[in-house]
């Protein structure tokens, strides 16, 4: 049984190498956990219970289950309603119950909170005794004892320079965000926020931390107007702001899965539509040429390239385009370093630091401790329905 860590920068051929190893495994004995849900879960189930049932080995599982969270409490939930980290944990749980003898994980563990990540790595480290092979891509993992390290040397890197992308930005006077007694719960679900009070100050970065499924992304959705609170209010410099009624005109959001934010099939289409929406709010967006230059600095081959034909890591980088354009005063980055190599992560940290120095407000969610250390930030912890500084 083998444990292999594929290393290298983005576009060095790690993903291709991983899938090639899995395809070489005995037919129907490999399990693949892709970087995002569509490639982590089967897509054939309506509920978490069904997802587990599809993979469960018969007559009984061949190895101890990996159960970082109790999925019996999630049995009736639809898999896409789980958070990104919970979906990865579900995929690992399904693998542990299956008869599969090989597992490949493409950067998915980067979405896990530290405790769950440690549990997952500990489980995978026992591959020898549990009778399976594991191939792992993980940008945050150093050499591990007992793991074979294979450096991928493909040289198809796409130039991405977040520091240069933010170089020409003008100073910004972002408003103070005051969240007052904000409450929210999903229909038929648990309460996510209970009378939360929070002030977000411009000119600095705020890191929102919490366990997988705590509701970090839900806060971003509330601020962007995607969800409406059951109670409470948001104020900008003291004035009421309700994006769930009038639309979002303050927050530039880069989603955890970049594919959750495209408004068109090509970047050109996406840009044109966003520009039109911003214009209706009276917000002046950078010129098309400036946007094109920015996109090039973030690695876009051209504006008319089909977004979904680009590698996922490249799409993730392009998801920073609007946050780095200087169009909106507040920037929300949801797990910005997932799938990104160290060089890009370091450059991203520098760009975020520069945005703060220019007066923009930044809120980011990350489980990447190294990235968090590189950005001077105010830590916020989301736990049991409240946010504590």
């Amino acid at each position: 049984m083998a444990r292999e860590l594929l290393t290298g920068p983005n576009f060095s051929g790690r993903s291709t190498g991983l899938t090639a190893r899995l395809r070489a495994a005995t037919p129907a004995s490999a399990f693949f956990v892709g970087p995002y849900a569509e490639a982590a879960l089967s897509g054939l189930s309506s509920t978490v219970a069904d997802e587990i049932e599809i993979y469960r080995a018969r007559p009984q599982p061949v190895r101890p289950a990996f159960s970082a969270i109790d999925f019996t409490a999630y049995a009736a939930r639809k898999p896409p309603t789980l958070s990104g980290g919970e979906q990865v944990l579900l995929a690992l749980h399904c693998f542990s119950l299956s008869h599969c003898r090989a597992i490949g994980i493409d950067t998915a563990l980067e979405q896990l909170d530290p405790a769950n990540r440690d549990d997952a790595l500990a489980y995978l480290s026992q591959a020898d005794t549990r009778g399976f092979d594991v191939t792992l891509i993980d940008n945050r993992l150093e050499q591990q004892d007992g793991w074979t390290q294979t450096a991928m040397t493909g040289s198809a890197d796409v130039a991405c320079d977040p520091v240069a992308a933010t170089a020409g930005l003008a100073p910004c006077a972002a408003p103070v965000i005051a969240i007052e007694r904000l409450s929210f719960g999903y229909p038929k679900g648990r309460t996510i926020f209970q009378a939360v009070d929070l002030a977000l100050e411009p000119g600095r970065a705020h890191r929102l931390a919490g366990a997988n499924g705590a509701g970090k992304t839900t806060l971003f959705k509330l601020l962007a107007g995607v969800l409406a609170p059951s109670d409470g209010a948001i104020r900008l410099d003291g004035a009421p702001y309700a994006p769930w009624r009038g639309g979002n005109r303050v927050f530039a959001l880069a989603t955890q899965n970049p594919d959750h934010q495209w408004c068109g099939a090509t970047l050109e289409e996406d840009v044109a539509r966003r520009r039109a929406a911003l214009a209706r709010h009276g917000i002046v967006a950078p010129t098309p040429d400036a946007i094109a230059r920015l996109a090039t600095l973030l690695g876009a081959p051209s504006l008319d390239a089909h977004l979904y034909e680009l590698p996922l890591a490249a799409r993730k980088r392009l998801s920073w385009l609007w946050p780095f354009s200087g169009t909106l005063p507040w920037i929300m980055l949801d797990e910005p370093t997932v799938g990104q190599d160290r060089a890009t992560r370091d450059a991203l940290a520098s760009a975020v630091t520069r945005l703060c120095a220019l007066g923009y407000g930044v809120v980011f969610i990350t489980h990447d401790e190294e990235f968090a250390r590189l950005v001077d930030h105010r830590p916020l912890r989301l736990e049991h329905g409240s946010i504590t500084a």
């Binding site: 490639a39 054939l44 049932e53 107007g225 934010q261 979904y308």
Partner: protein, 240 residues
């Protein structure tokens, strides 16, 4: 009740609704379906409401055409007689009620098995493996579309193109939502078919999961409900 028994019951009710030629006959079949739904507990009113919501657009359109514009029932046109708007209205009512009964009995069956997941329900149905697999794939596609709607809404709302609440922006950019949903469905499906399924041979996994649970045989309760549905269909037939 077993899934197989529920399907037999549903087919008999649908047959009864199809052969009923007038409102009293359809009322009998509907009564059987309502009694069945009541046995499932609550939510019957919601099921009735959803059935009405499904049928109402078609009923409104047919009323406009047959009662408002044509003014005669199709049978009267075929016979070459003058006809009346009252007969046209009765014709529309029969068609609408028939569809209502069909929509309602399908929901009543779902209500009866709301404690089971769709996969568990399909596993216990007696049908060829290919048919069961097709049902699972169809359900998967429905879930994918629902997920895509959610994803597309997030993207467009966060970008300021549409709003959560009804607005002019939503009317103006509604087509963008439709386009984004379909683009998302296609990309999700391609992603699975290219990355996940070929590596795992995932589609073969569901074969094992579907055939693992032996379909349950029909029970006495299944028989009783089927007899009731058969009786309703018989009464509807005799009232023709």
């Amino acid at each position: 009740m077993t899934p197989n028994g529920a399907i037999v019951f549903g087919l008999l009710v649908i047959t009864g609704a199809t052969i009923a030629r007038d409102l009293p006959g359809l009322a009998v079949v509907l009564a059987v379906a309502v009694v069945f739904a009541l046995g499932s507990g609550k939510r019957v009113v919601a099921a009735l409401g959803w059935s009405a919501a499904i049928v109402l657009p078609l009923a409104a359109f047919m009323t406009l055409v047959w009662v408002g514009i044509v003014g005669r029932a199709p049978a009267e046109i075929a016979s070459g007689i003058e006809g009346s708007r009252a007969n046209a209205a009765a014709y529309v009512a029969v068609i609408a009620l028939r569809l209502f009964v069909i929509a309602f009995v399908i929901q009543a069956i779902f209500l009866r098995f709301r404690g089971s997941t769709p996969f568990q329900f399909v596993r216990q149905v007696s049908a060829p493996a290919v048919a069961k697999k097709l049902i699972v794939l169809t359900l998967s596609l429905i879930e994918t579309i629902l997920h895509a709607v959610d994803r597309a809404r997030i993207a467009l709302i966060a970008a300021g193109l549409i709003t959560r609440r009804p607005s002019w922006s939503n009317l103006r950019n509604g087509w963008l939502l439709v386009q984004t949903v379909w683009l998302t469905v296609v990309t999700i499906a391609i992603g699975r078919a290219r990355d996940k399924w070929p590596i795992e041979n995932t589609l073969s996994l569901i074969d094992g999961a579907l055939t693992d649970a032996a379909p349950r045989r029909l029970t006495v309760i299944d028989g009783a409900w089927s007899l009731l549905a058969l009786a309703g269909a018989g009464i509807a037939w005799s009232m023709r």
